[in-house]
């Protein structure tokens, strides 16, 4: 039957389409599970080409919340993790999924809210600000996604002496999404939100939102990098993964991170080799 022959021809072509088009099963590539803040702030787009030009290693970044990124690495779906939730990172090392954690860089969190600031938190320290937000039941958007920023927010409530479960209400919006969507929601609701500075600086849909609280030492936000332990997952590309980590913490990588700026403002500050505690 002629049409059958033609049918198979089409299918053959389609199969060729799928296989022939380069998928680049390049051995010189690694998967890095990282956070939405590093991806959405544009940092990777700035530093990864520099690393690739030097080493020929392609870095594929999967941007997830810190909790999810660590889980993906636990399943063996990443070679390297670059995240920002120190207690969760230490747990990851303690479980044996990584042999060591290294400091890479830090930035800080900022409390963002409507410029009119109905809760009156502008310029306050974090504890006072969060206490006021809870007292006035001002609209607040929470990431709610087990990300590093979500963990930091939960710590902030706790340190302000607020029992979130008890005071939670309509004012507390748990969106369960990345930093960008959460900021979009806050912008639409004119709500308060805790954001990392990098994502905030690169965020374009700000509406009336502005930074109200910053500079409190409690808002320090360190990022750590870890190679997934090959004894747990033999498929981990140790050589390439370690090369990436070594480059990140080298003077060259650290300079690349420091040089990433938006509107003249640096988003991340290198911290490799400084007090690894």
């Amino acid at each position: 039957m002629d049409f059958l022959r033609r049918g198979f021809l089409t299918l053959g072509l389609l199969a060729g389409f799928a296989v022939g088009a380069p998928v680049h099963a390049d051995p010189q590539s690694i998967v890095v599970a990282s956070t939405t803040s590093t991806e959405q702030s544009g940092l990777f787009k700035h530093v990864l080409p520099l690393f690739r030009d030097k080493t020929g290693i392609e870095v594929k970044v999967v941007a997830l919340g810190t909790g999810q990124a660590l889980d993906a690495a636990r399943r063996g779906d990443a070679d390297v993790v670059l995240v920002h939730d120190r207690p969760a990172e230490d747990k990851f090392v303690a479980e044996g999924f990584a042999k060591a954690r290294q400091d890479v860089m830090y930035n800080d969190f900022v409390v963002v809210g409507p410029a009119s600031d109905p809760a009156g938190i502008k310029g306050a320290d974090v504890q006072t600000a969060f206490r006021k937000l809870a007292e006035t039941k001002s609209p607040f958007v929470s990431r709610g996604d087990r990300s590093g920023t979500h963990s930091a927010e939960l710590r902030a409530w706790k340190e302000a002496g607020i029992d979130l479960a008890a005071v939670k209400g309509d004012w507390y919006r748990d969106v369960g999404q990345g930093m960008g969507p959460a900021l979009n929601t806050a912008s639409a609701l004119n709500a308060y939100i805790l954001s990392d500075r990098g994502t905030w600086l690169s965020f374009k849909n700000r509406g009336e939102l502005t930074i109200l609280v910053q500079g409190d030492p409690r808002l320090f936000n360190p990022y750590g990098v870890m190679l997934v332990n090959p004894e747990k997952h033999p498929n981990v590309k140790v050589k390439e993964g370690q090369a990436f980590i070594d480059w990140l913490v080298s003077p060259e990588g650290q300079t690349a991170i420091a040089n990433y700026k938006i509107g003249g403002e640096a988003l991340f500050f290198p911290s490799a080799g400084k007090a690894n505690k």
Binding site: F3, L11, L14, T36, E39, V62, R75, N235
Partner: protein, 231 residues
């Protein structure tokens, strides 16, 4: 609002090579998935239409229900299967275009099967008696009816393509939205929306709509051309 649209038009002009690469990947993944969906779904749907066997009604109902398979569930299940810790983990398919093709093929196949079952059943209403009088086996009858209904099946292919290229739930989970590797039109639009760059997101959306319209136009042209030549 009007400002966003104005900016969108400017952004549309300045879209770069990256966008071409992303659009090409989207097309490649979705067309391949539809190809697989057609290869599996059309024969399955046609056989279900012509054959009589116990449990057939239940199978038809199941196929129809699977047309509404939620992409994010398909993505999640496939993620667990393709993960290094999953049963097919050793192939290292997770976070590759191959995984995205597999996910969209899973979405496309039941849709193709259910729609082509209907198309072939309608064709059988016209020709069934003659075919049965020829004492052809069910697979032979299915083949003849597929051939008879081949132009109607183009619409089935287009419906499957529309479902594949527009979904984001599955490709996001199994592809990982990796820049330059598994970023498709839909995941790119979602990312730009998340970054609050709404005009760029909208510009990408217009490109995606253009792609879909172009594929449909090509299909309509081929169909009318073929109908004149062989109809």
């Amino acid at each position: 609002m009007t400002e966003t649209f104005h900016e969108t038009l400017i952004r549309l002009w300045s879209l770069d090579r990256d966008v071409v690469a992303i659009a090409w990947l989207s097309l490649r993944v979705s067309l391949t998935a539809v190809g697989i969906g057609l290869a599996l779904g059309v024969p399955l749907g046609a056989l279900v239409a012509v054959a009589r066997f116990p449990g057939r009604d239940a199978l038809v109902a199941l196929l129809n229900a699977f047309m509404g398979l939620p992409p994010v569930i398909v993505g999640l299940v496939l993620y667990l299967v393709l993960s290094r810790s999953g049963p097919l983990g050793s192939f290292g398919l997770l976070f590759t275009p191959g995984a995205m093709i597999a996910a969209q093929a899973v979405l496309a196949t039941p849709l193709v099967a259910a729609l082509s079952r209907q198309v072939v059943a309608d064709a059988e209403a016209h020709l069934g008696e003659q075919l049965r009088s020829l004492r052809l086996s069910a697979p032979r009858r299915a083949m003849v009816l597929i051939f008879d209904a081949r132009f109607s099946l183009v619409t089935t292919a287009l419906a499957a393509f529309g479902r594949a290229i527009s979904e984001i739930g599955a490709v996001l989970v199994v592809g990982g939205n990796i820049d330059g590797h598994t970023r498709t039109m839909t995941t790119a639009i979602s990312l730009e929306t998340q970054k609050g760059d709404l005009s760029l997101a909208l510009a990408l959306g217009i490109v995606l709509m253009g792609l879909v319209v172009a594929v449909n136009a090509v299909a309509a042209f081929l169909r009318s051309h073929a109908a004149r030549a062989y109809g």
